[in-house]
Amino acid sequence: MSLFTRKESLPIPPKDAERYTTVCQYCSAGCGYNVYVWPVGRNGSAKNNAFGIDLSMQSPMLSGHSYTETMHNVITRKNGISYNLAIVPAKESRINKGNYSVRGGTNAIAAWSDTGYTKKRLKQPLLKKGDSFAAISWTDAVEIIATLTKASIDRYGADSIAMKFYDHGSSGLGFEDNWAAGKLFLSGIRTNHLSIHNRPAYNSEVWGTRERGMHELNYDVDDARLADTVVLWGANAYEAATILYTEHIMPNLQGASMDEKKSAFDTGEPAAEGRLIVIDPRKNASVTVAQAIAGGRVLHIRPNLGTDWILANAIARIAWENGWYDKAFLEKRTDMKTFEEYKAKSLQLAKPLNDLLAEAEKITGVSRKEMEQAAEWIAKPKSGGFRARTLTIYEKGIIWNMKNYDQVAAIAQLSVLTANIGRPGTGCGREGGHQEGYVRPPAPTPGSIYAGGPPKNVDKFLTGGGGKIYWVGATDPYLSTPNSQFFRKVLKKRSATLLDHIDHGGVPSDPKELVARVLDAFEKTDGLFMVVQDIYMTQTGNDAMLILPAAGWGEAADTSINCHSRLLRIYDKFMDAPGEALPDWKILSMVGMKLRELYTAAGNKEMADRFSDMDWKSDEEVFLAGSREFGDNRVPETEEAKLSPECYKGVTHQILRKLGNTGIQTPVRVDPSTGKLVGTKRRYKYSFATTDGRFRWYGTDPWSGYPPEVAKYVGNPKYPYWFTTGRSQLVWQTMYHDRYLPEKYFALPLPYIEVHPEDAAHLGIRGGDMVEVFNEEGSSIALVYVNDACKPGLVFGIMYHAKGSMNHLTSSYTDPKTTMPWYKGTKVGIRPYHGTPDEAIRTTSLLPNNNFS
């Protein structure tokens, strides 16, 4: 009867079960979890167990202890013995307090199990042989890559090697893997054709704030409970950073954090139930949940796509006109020379207020009244003259907007103008996607066009025929890169060209013979040698010559920080990786060491030296090697702004194991008076991260319409709908795990779009129908859900899904200042598609996911 086999009881961990602490492998919230491992058959009892809870009783609601069907699995270690694995939310974590989301609740069933859902993990290095792959040894795989890399550097220069790797933490990655990737690609190979997992270049997503002297992770999760007003700007926290919303923003709206406010605020300062401003074209669940809780204290503003920086500047101008800023703060903490530029270009003080606001209304589609309301909530001092406390959290709606640099800068500057930084209940930063864990040698491009940039667009380099080797780590660009249909088409062809050239009488297994043929192909064709390093086979991987199996979360000890507190914790190893899979740092280390050996043998000491210091023996060794990049951190609290935001110098895996779910907040300092390691709760209380400690202002560009890549659709009746993309609450990224979990693939069986009822009626489609979404970039087939999240004329699509990508439709535009794509805005046509997805409709819910009433 049930769509899949359900569990009706769970094994109990005995008192002596192995225990580990970890952090959720998924989103930026970074919820704490406890892990229990014990041999199958050696269960504890209801009264005597590792949870320390009497399990013979029905547990009350909100007890903080949850152990559900998705929190248990059976795993097999390399010793051949089967173990029970329980991964439950940590009540003692101040991030989640026992709470968890629909994604993190599956940490256990997503673990590799040869009897469970996740059998399909990659277990051996694979070499493409015609139509299929054959297993090869690590020795051969490493020799093939290293030899080809050396030959490409020697013959065509280091820039002939392109890479696309993560820069984030969690997902089984962390400081360890990031340091290893940095050593190999940035210190060793030194190619300029670097790109980060979710974008075509090696850039910060937020240079617009970093170049002001304000790193994007500057607030603490407590600030979401302390703020008078929380602003979610292009950040759908309920669905994308769920616990930030439900454990911290929601209680603030409900008035449950009043006591905390009273003790954190200044004497006599008014404290009230929180307010929420959501700035998002969609009436998504972050809006409607808040409205269900506190309708009158929720402001939803829906700007036209791409216009947010004009809105931010207009709100700032209203605050300025009303004197809702702190002159002393501006003069003491910010650079008054560049402030003139900000006043002229962003606040446009030369333009009468009425003209400026009328213009802003026209561009953004937001009414003056809403702008005034927002300005008041963000900036108006409270009674008694106390400064407002506003926490502004932005994410991909801003980062992946048109004009990335100006969007981020405008929001950062609005916060600093109104002094909403460095105090309890304030801050201005990212919501985050993944967690973080970045430590690498300096990147070749230090910043935007204002600071040595922009970085190279690697997608354009590859689709233009450039490069010989493309090494992809833990990402699937066929789904995730902008304009992906074109990208896929060209890379498929270039890979096939290479394969065709080397496949005469079959693809040789002998590494030397193989390398010789590949080098011949490099000489005579535009063939591309793709290497994919991942935990599962990917769509990109299908076209790769070489697949490298990586260890996942829980299969090696990793360290990362979350985004809402920069909380550094250990994500401990509690199980073995499948087959011969290895941690990323180990794979990168083997290739680096082989390159060193090859260059040494060739008598090239200079090149050999570039690959030195990569022979790490343990995960902790890589962690410690990375920490040396941070420089001296013996500084007093007043100089925390001088520290690298993720600095963890002095911390060891052992220390983190002791700290468990408590962790320590980066930047970590050695306190000069006590000599002890101390974390940083909240940043920029004393100064900003510039040479003189003052915030650097920037005058944003005026509105100049849409870029040609999108402007070409405006007014064309073939493409009547604006199109934006985003995530679903239910699944993580490309669904690399979720595609195998029935709770997820039955609920979200196909790539989908959400359409307003009026548009659906006009198109003659209903929920559960299939459509083709198309424009001149490409097309995607999608299942239709009907709801009122989008206004008529705007359509939303899941950014990508195991079975397809909406990035076929996104343009190749990137911000010329940063090379950041505009994933979130283009125009499309829609036509009904014939054929009914019977199976999908039988399982998926067609009920609107933004209606809670």
Binding site: E8, A46, P60, G64, L730, A747, R842, S845, F852
Partner: protein, 163 residues
């Protein structure tokens, strides 16, 4: 998990909450160890579309809802396969769920479960779907019997392992 959450519940969903609280100390009545009891939970002729009726199953501390939906449902019984029953405890953290418009909504963190689609979480925080009660219809009398549960009732190590 703020105290206010709990207070709000008392206001917004007092009926189902009371049921859950009453049941806390309940001893399994009729639940033989490791075997689901067959319990008559109502008559199909008494059910009105969209109006849930509460019952306890497999024991007093496990509140459930039976509801007649507008259309057919996974696991539905009756001539239109539209009568389904589910645990009333949210599989996220155990708060009571309330039925409206084809789904169960939890007031704690707003998980929503589609009653026609196996109690699936289509929005919200519950990684586990709502546990669905297996029903049998006695055609002659119209009596509905609960005879098992697919999925784990929140807050238990086993559906039948509560003392």
């Amino acid at each position: 998990m703020s105290p206010l959450n709990r207070r709000e519940f008392l206001q917004t969903s007092s009926a189902s909450l009371a049921l859950a609280v009453l049941g806390l100390s309940g001893k399994a009545d009729g639940a033989a160890a490791n075997k689901y009891p067959s319990i008559r939970i109502g008559n199909i002729r008494d059910l009105k579309t969209g109006e849930p009726v509460q019952f306890n199953y497999p024991d007093k501390s496990s509140p459930c809802n039976v509801v007649m939906l507008n259309g057919n449902a996974v696991g539905g019984i009756g001539p239109f396969s539209n009568v389904v029953a589910f645990s009333a405890l949210c599989p996220h953290m155990g708060c009571p769920v309330n039925y409206s418009n084809g789904r169960f909504v939890c007031g704690c963190h707003y998980s929503m479960f589609d009653a026609a689609k196996n109690g699936q979480t289509y929005q919200g925080l519950a990684s586990q779907w709502l546990a669905q009660v297996s029903l049998r219809l006695d055609k002659a009398s119209g009596n509905i019997y609960a005879e098992g549960i697919e999925g784990l009732v929140y807050g238990r190590i086993g559906n039948l392992n509560i003392s």
